[in-house]
C-alpha cells in the first residue's frame, strides 16, 4: 500500500525500497504512538483488498484516515537517510544570518520609501517629514 502512495521513479526509491513498512514504521510509531490505532484500523480494513483500489477509496471516503496513512508513510520515507540525501535535504540544520542585510541591495527599499506613507490619516496621526 505504501508503494501506491510512493512508487519508485528513475531517480528515487519507492516506499518499500526505503523500508517504510519495516523499520520506518517502527521509527514513526516510536515517536508518534498516537497514530498507531488509526493505522491498525486502516490496515485491518485493507486486508485482502487490492492496494490501489483501497487507497483510492480511502482518499475519497475517509479523508482523515487517508491523511493519517499518508503521514505515516511519508513520515517514515523522509526519515530514511538515503531518501534525504537523494532529494538534497539535510534537515532543519542551522544557517546563521549574515551580518550584511540583503534588503539594502539594489536600492530595493528606496522605491518603497519614494512611494511615501500609505497609512490612513486620523485626527491625531503624525505625518512623515
Amino acid at each position: 500500500m505504501a508503494d501506491v502512495l510512493i512508487p519508485a521513479s528513475a531517480d528515487f526509491l519507492s516506499a518499500s525500497e526505503a523500508a517504510v513498512a519495516a523499520e520506518g514504521l517502527d521509527q514513526v510509531l516510536a515517536v508518534r504512538p498516537d497514530l498507531e490505532s488509526g493505522l491498525k484500523q486502516t490496515l485491518h480494513s485493507a486486508k485482502d483488498r487490492n492496494p490501489t483500489n483501497f487507497v483510492g477509496e480511502l482518499q475519497t471516503k475517509d479523508p482523515d484516515g487517508f491523511a493519517e496513512l499518508a503521514e505515516v508513510v511519508a513520515g517514515a520515507y523522509f526519515m530514511n537517510a538515503m531518501v534525504r540525501a537523494g532529494i538534497g535535504y539535510h534537515g532543519q540544520v542551522p544557517r546563521p544570518i549574515e551580518s550584511r542585510p540583503d534588503y539594502l541591495d539594489e536600492g530595493l527599499l528606496q522605491s518603497v520609501i519614494d512611494r511615501g506613507p500609505i497609512y490612513r490619516r486620523t485626527p491625531r496621526t503624525k505625518q512623515h517629514p
Binding site: 513520515g75 526519515m79 532543519q92 534588503y103 506613507p117 500609505i118 497609512y119 491625531r124
Partner: protein
C-alpha cells in the same frame, strides 16, 4: 471557602503567565510591588523540541500543537468548537501563546484605533496609536524585536533594537515584484533575535519557530521575561488552574480559588487582581464567578463578557518557482510584510483589510500535506516530481484578515463539557462574517498576483482550515461607557474597581495584524497606569456599590481592599 490554607496576600495577583502577565508582572515588580502569578500550565519542555532530529516534521505537531483539543496536555482544558468556523489555538504554559507563536511582531496602524470614526463599523478604541506608540517602542526593547525603522505604513518613530532578518531569495523576488507593481513591502518585524540579545541567541533560520525554537532565538516570554521576573521576586505558581474569583459583599474581588496539580483547592488572597488569561480564558473565569449581585458572571452588567469574539480568518497562497529559493529554511517568522491593501477602499465591496507575511514552506513532509497544498495531486506517480517542484522552490503568503466584532460570536460555558478538574469548559460560537469572506477572497486574489509577478509559474490557494484561531480577541470589550464596555481605557473593570483585564480580550476591534505587539504594549500601558493610580489616585468603589450609595465610597476598609494599602 476551600478547606486548604489561605496563601499570604501579595500587592497584586495576576492570572496567566503569557505575554500580558509577563509584561505586567515585570512592570509591577520594578515598581516594588509584591506580585503573585497563577498559571495553569508548566514551563515549556524544550527537550521535546526536535528541530535537529530527522523526526522533526513528524513530531512537531504533537507536543507543539496549538489546538488544546488535539494536544490534550495535563494543563489543557477542552474547548467545544462544534459551533465555530475556526478552532481556537492557544498554549497553556509559562509563556502562553508566545511559546508557539510565529513571532510576527506587528504594531496596529493608526486607523485600527478608530474604525467607527473612519469606517462606521465596530468601535473606536479609547486611545490612539500615538498614545500607544511609546509603549510599542519600549516593549520592542523588552522582546528583542528585529526589524527596520522607517516603514511608510506607520507614522515615524523609533524602530526595534535588532536588524531585520534577511529577505532571502524569495523575499528579494517578491520585493522586486512589488516595486514593479508599486505595492508596499518592508523587511518584516519579528520577535526573533537576529543577533545575541539579553537571554536570546541569534536565529539560525531553521524555520521551526512555531514548534519549539531550539536555538532560544524566539522571544517567548518564558525566556525574555519570566526568569528575570522571578529574580525580581515575582512569585510564579505553576500548575494552578483558577476555578473562580471570590467576591465580597461589597462586590469586590478578594482573591482566586485555584486547583493545584493534585486536585487540591487553594485560595489566593488578593486586593488587586489582573486577568491575563486570554480571549477565552479570561471570559471563562468571569463567567465562572457569578454572585448574587452579578448572576450572569462577574463584571458583566454590560452583558458583554464573552461576546464579540474575533479570531482573524486566515488565508494562504503558495507560489512555485523554478529557482531554488532555499525556502526549507528562514524565519518563520516572516521575511517581509505587505500592507498595501490594509486600509479600507469601499470600492472593493468590504471594509478594512489584511496584513500579509511572506514565509518559508519547510521540509519535505510539509510538502505532502493538505495544508497548504489542498487536494493538488501528489500521491502515486506524481510524487517525486511534485516533491522536487515544491521543496525549497516555494514561497508562501500568510494573510491575516481583520475580523469585525459581532455580539453573536462569543465564548460561553459549555453546559456539559468539563475540564479534568470538573470545571465547566468554554464553548466558542463563531461564524465568519460576509465582510470577512469578501475581504479574504480579495486578498487571496491579490496575493496570487504578487507571487505571479515575482515569477511563480504556479500558485496554490490553500484550503481554509479550522485550526487558525491564534488570535483570540474582544471578549471583554474596553470602552469609556460602562453600559457598552467591560473595562475602561486602562483595563479596569467598570463593575469591579479592584479587578483589571489587560489581555487581548479588551480589544474593541481586532485590527488585521498579529496581535502580540499590541497586547504587550497595552499590558505595559495599563500596568504603569495602575502603578501610578495606586500611588496617587483616590480609590473608588465598585460601580454597583457606588450607585447604591449615591454619595460614593467612604468606607476606609474598602479603600484598603481596593488598593492594598
Amino acid at each position: 471557602m476551600p478547606s486548604s490554607q489561605m496563601n499570604t496576600e501579595p500587592d497584586i495577583l495576576i492570572i496567566g503567565a503569557g505575554p500580558t502577565g509577563a509584561v505586567a508582572a515585570k512592570c509591577f515588580a520594578e515598581a516594588g510591588m509584591h506580585v503573585s502569578v497563577l498559571e495553569q500550565g508548566d514551563w515549556p519542555d524544550y527537550s521535546k523540541a526536535r528541530a535537529d532530529h530527522p523526526d522533526f516534521e513528524l513530531t512537531a505537531g504533537r507536543y507543539w500543537s496549538g489546538n488544546p483539543n488535539r494536544r490534550r496536555a495535563p494543563a489543557d482544558y477542552p474547548i467545544n468548537d462544534s459551533e465555530s468556523d475556526i478552532s481556537a489555538v492557544l498554549y497553556n504554559a509559562v509563556g502562553g501563546g508566545t511559546v508557539i507563536y510565529a513571532a510576527h511582531w506587528q504594531r496596529n496602524m493608526p486607523s485600527d484605533f478608530c474604525v467607527r470614526t473612519l469606517d462606521g463599523v465596530g468601535d473606536d478604541w479609547p486611545l490612539t496609536y500615538e498614545d500607544l506608540q511609546p509603549y510599542y517602542e519600549r516593549v520592542e526593547l523588552e522582546f528583542g524585536v528585529s526589524g527596520l525603522a522607517g516603514d511608510p505604513a506607520f507614522p515615524p518613530g523609533k524602530g526595534p533594537p535588532l536588524p531585520a532578518g534577511p529577505l532571502g531569495p524569495m523575499g528579494r523576488r517578491v520585493a522586486k515584484a512589488h516595486n514593479q507593481l508599486g505595492w508596499h513591502w518592508w523587511p518584516a518585524p519579528n520577535a526573533i533575535a537576529t543577533r545575541a540579545y539579553g537571554p536570546l541567541k541569534p536565529c539560525t533560520q531553521r524555520a521551526t519557530c512555531m514548534w519549539g525554537c531550539v536555538e532560544g532565538a524566539k522571544a517567548s516570554v518564558d525566556r525574555t521575561h519570566w526568569p528575570q521576573n522571578i529574580r525580581r521576586g515575582v512569585e510564579l505558581i505553576t500548575g494552578a488552574r483558577v476555578r473562580r474569583l471570590e467576591v465580597n459583599h461589597r462586590g469586590l474581588v478578594t482573591g482566586a480559588v485555584y486547583v493545584d496539580r493534585d486536585g487540591v483547592d487553594h485560595f489566593q488572597k488578593a486586593s488587586l487582581t489582573v486577568l491575563a488569561a486570554g480571549g477565552i480564558g479570561t471570559p471563562r473565569i468571569l463567567l465562572l464567578s457569578p454572585s448574587s449581585k452579578s448572576p450572569d458572571g462577574l463584571a458583566n452588567s454590560s452583558g458583554l463578557v464573552g461576546r464579540r469574539l474575533m479570531m482573524h480568518p486566515f488565508g494562504t497562497v503558495v507560489g512555485l518557482f523554478q529557482e531554488d529559493l532555499g525556502s526549507t529554511h528562514g524565519l518563520w517568522g516572516q521575511h517581509l510584510h505587505c500592507l498595501q491593501f490594509y486600509e479600507t477602499d469601499t470600492s472593493r465591496g468590504f471594509v478594512r483589510g489584511a496584513k500579509w507575511g511572506l514565509q518559508p514552506t519547510g521540509g519535505p513532509l510539509s510538502m505532502t500535506r493538505s495544508y497548504p497544498w489542498g487536494d493538488n495531486p501528489i500521491w502515486g506517480s506524481a510524487f517525486h516530481t511534485e516533491i522536487r517542484k515544491r521543496l525549497g522552490h516555494s514561497a508562501m503568503w500568510g494573510i491575516i484578515c481583520e475580523d469585525l466584532p459581532d455580539e453573536q460570536n462569543r465564548v460561553v460555558l459549555d453546559p456539559v463539557l468539563r475540564d479534568s478538574n470538573g470545571i465547566p469548559a468554554p464553548k466558542i460560537i463563531y461564524r465568519m462574517s460576509e465582510n470577512s469572506g469578501r475581504l479574504l477572497q480579495f486578498h487571496l486574489a491579490r496575493a496570487r498576483e504578487s507571487l505571479e509577478a515575482a515569477g511563480a509559474y504556479e500558485t496554490v490557494v490553500a484550503p481554509l482550515i479550522r485550526e487558525t484561531g491564534w488570535h483570540l480577541l474582544g471578549t471583554t470589550k474596553m470602552g469609556n461607557n460602562p453600559d457598552h464596555a467591560v473595562v475602561d481605557a486602562w483595563g479596569r473593570c467598570h463593575d469591579v474597581s479592584n479587578l483589571y483585564i489587560f489581555d487581548g480580550s479588551i480589544w474593541p476591534s481586532s485590527s488585521g495584524m498579529n496581535p502580540t505587539a499590541t497586547i504587550a504594549a497595552m499590558a505595559l500601558r495599563c500596568a504603569e497606569h495602575l502603578v501610578g493610580e495606586r500611588r496617587h489616585h483616590e480609590p473608588r468603589c465598585s460601580r454597583a456599590i457606588y450607585s447604591r450609595r449615591l454619595g460614593g465610597c467612604s468606607d476606609p476598609g474598602e479603600r484598603r481592599l481596593s488598593f492594598g494599602q
